[in-house]
Symmetry: D2
Subunit: 502 residues, 4 copies
């Protein structure tokens, strides 16, 4: 039993950095109706500010083409698809966090690609044409959406250039060159547009230092630093359809956030914002952990504390509409998405929507709970019971003492655990139907809703005492709302006159 | 513990008479957006064939008017509103079960009215004009919707003429006169339109006999017999806002159904269909029983068995958009509706949707459960635990042995009881907010969903044994769907490789 | 032929006062789906800031009731309907311009009513209870919508108290008393809420002076002055279904605006805003003029110049969902609405949407045209050819010389006249079907769209010369948008290679 | 002037074969939201029964995959995307006309591909695996959609095997082999499914004979014959973005229809239906003719007479969401679609919607008009003025004498010509913006509506005489609807009392 004493009021702010940005499958998928449907759901229930995905310059979006005129190849810039994509972002109320990459085939210096969809990872074969492309793209965005709008879109140069599968030979100098040429092109079009990098994944964090010194040395603009973070360990089993890994302690990610922040603080650019432009437990889109309640319980502390160190951290990704490892092969397949195919909400979706119910006044926080107050006076807390051991049991009991000013509170508790809001488990019970019928999908949707319990409690001596049980890997949201009781206004009311009621 | 043995297959049909028709607030309310929204919900989740409400000829729908021409009053028939109403029924996919009444003020022979909305209950002051009105109305319907369509609409003459507050002096001879004039007018327009009466409430069932003999003696057309049924007893407390009654045993209603059926069988028209065009527990729209779980548990047996005796029975009503006792004064106010204001589903709504999940092959039935098979092979059962005594406890245990041909079944159980899908209870916890904020409404909607539990079971020796607990006044739907297990098709699958799973 | 020289740029602002507010049928009708549908159309295409209708306190909205407790009557305030109404305004994106009235039956000192829907026009029988009612209503609005929101809602006291049919005996002193009690109640709840009156119609404008002096003398708060304006003359034929009047010159209305403004300027409150809370050609809802093209041509100058004098002027009304003279008896019946039943747009709707396309820089204005520039550089002009004489002909020719900086312009002209966007005329051709079938409604909708002509023009010496013909009572919108010609970017383009093209 | 005498009634039926089927971009595109939006528009306004597109087995739909198990490759069938696609067809109310092709990469015997999207055109590398694939696919369809539904889906084997770019070497024997293996697989799953071929384009029609004799000789099932038809001549200019061709006379297509029908009549299978599974003017998706009014005028006679010879003819295609020649590079680019990007209707769309307004009783037909009667009594005619010569002028005058039984008719005429419903022309005036702003798109949509004119006419001696002018390449729909005049029912009506009306 853990006892938790929660003060009535504090000066601590719980910031909303966790919802600044969300990851997406490659932009070409944003043309799909299912993608749009999922994004609407995410925005309605959570409401991210930005969305970031690969593939702006990939050939399926089709921006860069060439056309032969009088025997000579000329660049041709096609914005048909990207306009449709960004228009739909605008309608849905989210902005692009623009990632510049990968390489259009016609500009590629090599044939190296990654993913089923074959993103080309080689440097430009002609930096002049590349620079032209960037200028055309940025100019088009400004023409279509206006300067004031595009100034709000961060532009991040490339993705994970420190990995050989994302950037030819993980060539650092080549990346810096690409960075310089690209940001020069962007700033030439409009100097207020924010640019940043190096968008590395973990492992070789010296890139951060090198990158910032490069910028200083070469006087290259940089408006933010970006990095990725995944905390799963080396894979211990990999099959065509499955990728299994152990998870490092979730504090490892927080430590990485802090470490990078420290590197920036000590750099020539100590004021730069730090954006974690991707994070998740596992970096594999076929790792079943993403479908589990464990994943939500594991990430809870990161949502709770990550904003202490970084300006944004962007969960990778909002939807299982995703093709890096081929077209999804089953209703549940270990995809990154908060939302599975057929609009089914996963446990981690609810983690985000639970955090979205929190207020900005942080009343209490530890490694298993976060208590806040909303402006409407509601005390909203999230608690979680992360258990990485196998087996049953592991219930945890928490006892909160809330200091309050009101007398009477309505208590609403929502639970996600192995037995509730766990469509993956229900799907297993169904025999794992790969392509479930509409009727089965309906059941999965119903089963994906958090279990809700409500009650009423009175404070005593300015305190509410509440004891809660958490099952293994449960995450729970509890909201205490002051009651304005209108019962007395019902003249003649007497429930005991209803048959069987007292 | 009750043991229930369910055969694998039977020749017994469970008919769908319970969903043939649903009651509605007066037709003028059908212009409201909230009404239309509720009706769409009901049709999407349940899907009634017909809808019946009062007030077709009431002055707010405005069909009958007079206009002065050269100093002389002429009838004027205004179909602006009724067209809008019936058009919207058509779009939503439901047909009117037409009730002829009440009296337009200009045709009324007296000033007696009922309800806040002042329906005039007096006979026509001029039967010739009345007959003209009826012919104009029916002709207009045919012109707008076509003969084939209008032939499917039953026309019921008046409402509860055996009550003095619904028909001046409850004058039987005057009713028969009205009936004759009206059906003659209808049949003159189109002889295939179905007509019926006498639409009485219980208490003076000799009206049925008298009515049928009148039809025979006077050679007046009659295509169906109609009657209402409410099983609550005399009110023991009535206030401006509350009406409290005890409930008679629900078998009383079934007995009434059977009795009237018997009267028709013994009449000169033994083949006439019998429509219960209204029924509910209490006949008062301010009786809190309608908002309770008890109401659902109480009606379960009636839905289960009512169709044995009657061709339809129409729950009064689908929505709390209703004004007989003034504009609803609070979120919950004892209204008849399956759906409360702000699209909140009441327990009885779920009773209907649970029955809607049943199949048409009746495998077993007793006074607390009904077991069926759907065409897709799913065994679907509803069970209920009606308890009319006060106090806690009263759990009931049922043990089913299902004879089945399959091996492996997915089991989905949905529960409505005091603690689940009971927004009335949650609203009480909130302090009974009369006009709840949008946030509170959102909580009530969430809390109005049935609790869902799923599992998987295997048959042994062609039998599934399942034991269930029912809480006081719980209603539950359990569906057993044969599983086609695809688990083996997942190559490399091993859940135990996921951290914390086994 | 009129020659019009339009400068390239000016310092004159064309204000948007014409779209600040729009009139509505009584608030009880706002529950109807058709009303909501029409309002959505109006907001999507025009986008008013406020909406004003009668009947907030009328018994169909049902706010004021009494309930007997222990033999004593107590006030009961029911916000079920008004919440639904104002919630829907909020969703649609429009704010109430609150009109306080008419009298709830239970508070009325007399039985005098007006309109088919019987609004009670008598003073309160108890000013104390009235004051309580007002405080409860305003407090409820603040609780539900927040202080910051309700501060933006003007509260106007009563409607046309200078007319005996709207206020018992048109008793001025009694009105001032009502005004004082009401605004005192409002300001007691929240002093920042804006209040105003006297909401008179024309005819006895000395009320304005008297009202302002009363406020000064008695130190009664007043934040705005309001008045109505209709320019039709005495009716020369009135039947149950028709009301025919001649129209005064439309400058009469502008003069009235100016005159009232002058009265305020000369009053003790020279800075008070002036809101014309109702205006139209005719004040009768069964005057066919409202359905005509003439009505649009007649009002054009008022939209063009009215904002010079008044802070808002509110067209009465946006929709034919309206019941002052009974339920509408035909598709077209002379109703006030910009939108007729079945979502059919009338000519005057297009007048408003044409003005909505204008910019805020006024380049030129006279009695038959208004030329503006939008921020996007488009020159947008409206022209009209008001002809009040009978007979055919009356075409007018206008020749504009626009001074421009660009070379190449796309010209889009939209026309509403007797032959285009005139569903009333088409309906007459159909034989005036009162309750048209869906197919006929579809034709009327199609026929209600403005006729569109497009072309391309080049400037010469910084000038565009354009000559237009206006038919009798035509209104036209012409937009000149600078062209960025991309034709040369189409490599290989040659239209003459398409069969039959050159 | 052409005089046309139209009898009041005939026994001739105008069949609806023209709307049985419509072409589509490759099925993978059906995941896109824009595709779905366009299909909804087409179904709402026209309502085809079937839809046919390439690429069911192409790798972007992703059905055929292999997975390595214990070092061995096993087929894996992935229905995630095709389920989403066919589910959406079902929701929209259209059925697939299934085309079997192209070759999944893993089953391909060669690397030959066509189109930007690289459809593989080679025979299977393993007919056994191919057969398995077909059986799995058909079985899955039946499991998901039911036998009764899938029996209604025709299965056509491959596409244009008589062309070397669609089928390796245009190898006829290999095609017959593919056909046999495929239909045997289909019929093994379910013998009632309809199968057919050879889906050839024109040029080598002996394939039809050979195919049918092959089926007879080898006793291979065949339920229908299919062929394509395009009437444009050899291209005379081809650039990367443009393809220009002259058009053959449109009677050439009708003659082809008749010829193939004759070949079937003379074959061993004289009763087989003939489906033209693709037709259009030009077979190039970058031929501007598709965007023109000419295209509509050209096809009018084919819609009018094609159904005399063939059981269906399927316009290629409903939407410009299409990628055979890359992502569309501009708003208008010569795409096949009835609907251009951004939901803009092309002239040919209206041709189809005009034909959709025709009745099934054919009163008169010649080479420039088709007159019908609908069941509701409306006489509906389409007329067109195809002019393939260059230059202006070419107006045509038609004079109809309609024999009618009614007195009074409402006449509704809709026109599509160079000046109306011609968004391509408006777009040219705008300077051909490749990626138009939302505002420009709005103008294009407005400008894409047919010009509507209405009037009223009386018959004389049972005849209506009407003279119409057709501009060059105009298509027009005229509907004569009998009027039931209600004008006399409006008591007091006198339009001349409205200012300026007479």
């Amino acid at each position: 039993m853990t006892k938790i004493e929660v003060q009535e009021t504090t000066d601590t702010k719980f910031n909303k950095n966790w919802k600044l940005c969300i990851g997406s499958g490659r932009l070409g998928l944003a043309l799909q109706k299912e993608y749009v449907d999922h994004l609407k759901i995410a925005q309605e229930k959570i409401g991210f500010d930005y969305i970031r995905g690969h593939g702006l310059l990939h050939d399926d979006v089709g921006i860069y083409r060439e056309i032969e005129v009088d025997g000579e190849k000329r660049p041709f810039y096609n914005f048909t698809y990207i306009d449709k994509i960004f228009d739909s972002y605008q309608e849905i109320g989210i902005r692009p966090f623009v990632e510049i990459g990968f390489m259009p085939e016609l500009l590629a210096s090599g044939k190296d690609t990654l993913f089923t969809w074959k993103g080309n990872i080689t440097p430009p074969n002609d930096y002049g044409k590349w620079s032209e492309l960037i200028k055309e793209v940025v100019s088009h965005f400004i023409e279509r959406y206006g300067e004031a709008e595009v100034e709000k879109w961060p532009f991040e140069i490339w993705n994970e250039p420190n990995l050989v599968n994302f950037w030819k030979d993980a060539n650092k100098e080549e990346y810096f060159k690409l960075y310089k040429v690209t940001v020069d092109a962007i700033k030439e079009v409009h100097s207020n547009i924010q640019v940043g990098g190096p968008a590395i994944c973990g492992g070789t964090d010296e890139w951060i230092d090198d990158f910032l010194h490069f910028c200083e040395d070469e006087d290259v603009p940089v408006d933010f630093v970006s990095r990725h973070a995944y905390t799963s360990k080396q894979p211990h089993k990999v099959t065509p359809d499955y990728y299994y890994q152990d998870l490092a302690d979730n504090t490892k990610m927080l430590e990485e956030f802090r470490k990078i922040r420290g590197m920036i603080d000590a750099s020539p650019y100590p004021d730069l914002p730090l954006h974690i432009t991707e994070y998740n437990s596992s970096y594999s889109p076929i790792n079943p952990v993403h479908d589990t309640v464990l994943n939500a319980a594991y990430l809870a502390r990161i949502l709770s504390e990550g904003g202490d160190y970084v300006d944004s951290f962007s969960y990778w990704t909002f939807s299982d509409v995703f093709e890096e490892r081929d077209v999804p092969r089953a209703q549940f397949h270990g995809g990154f998405g908060l939302i599975a195919w057929n609009d089914i909400l996963k446990p981690t979706f609810h983690l985000f929507s639970f955090f979205n119910a929190l207020g900005e006044e942080q009343l209490y926080r530890d490694d298993k709970t976060l208590v806040t107050r909303r402006k409407d006076g509601t005390i909203a807390l999230v608690a979680w019971n992360l258990v990485t051991e196998k087996g049953e049991g592991f219930e945890k009991e928490l006892e909160y003492t809330l200091h309050v000013s009101g007398d009477d509170y309505f208590v609403k508790r929502q639970t996600v655990d192995e037995g509730n809001a766990n469509p993956w488990e229900v799907w297993k019970q169904m025999g794992r139907p790969r392509f479930p019928s509409k009727e089965k999908v309906e059941t999965l949707k119903q089963a994906a809703q958090p279990f809700i319990r409500t009650s009423r409690t009175k404070s005593e001596n300015g305190r509410i005492a509440i004891k809660i049980q958490l099952t293994k890997n449960e995450i729970t949201l509890i909201e205490f709302t002051p009651i304005k009781d209108e019962t007395d206004s019902y003249i003649g009311l007497d429930d005991s006159l209803i048959t069987s009621y007292s």
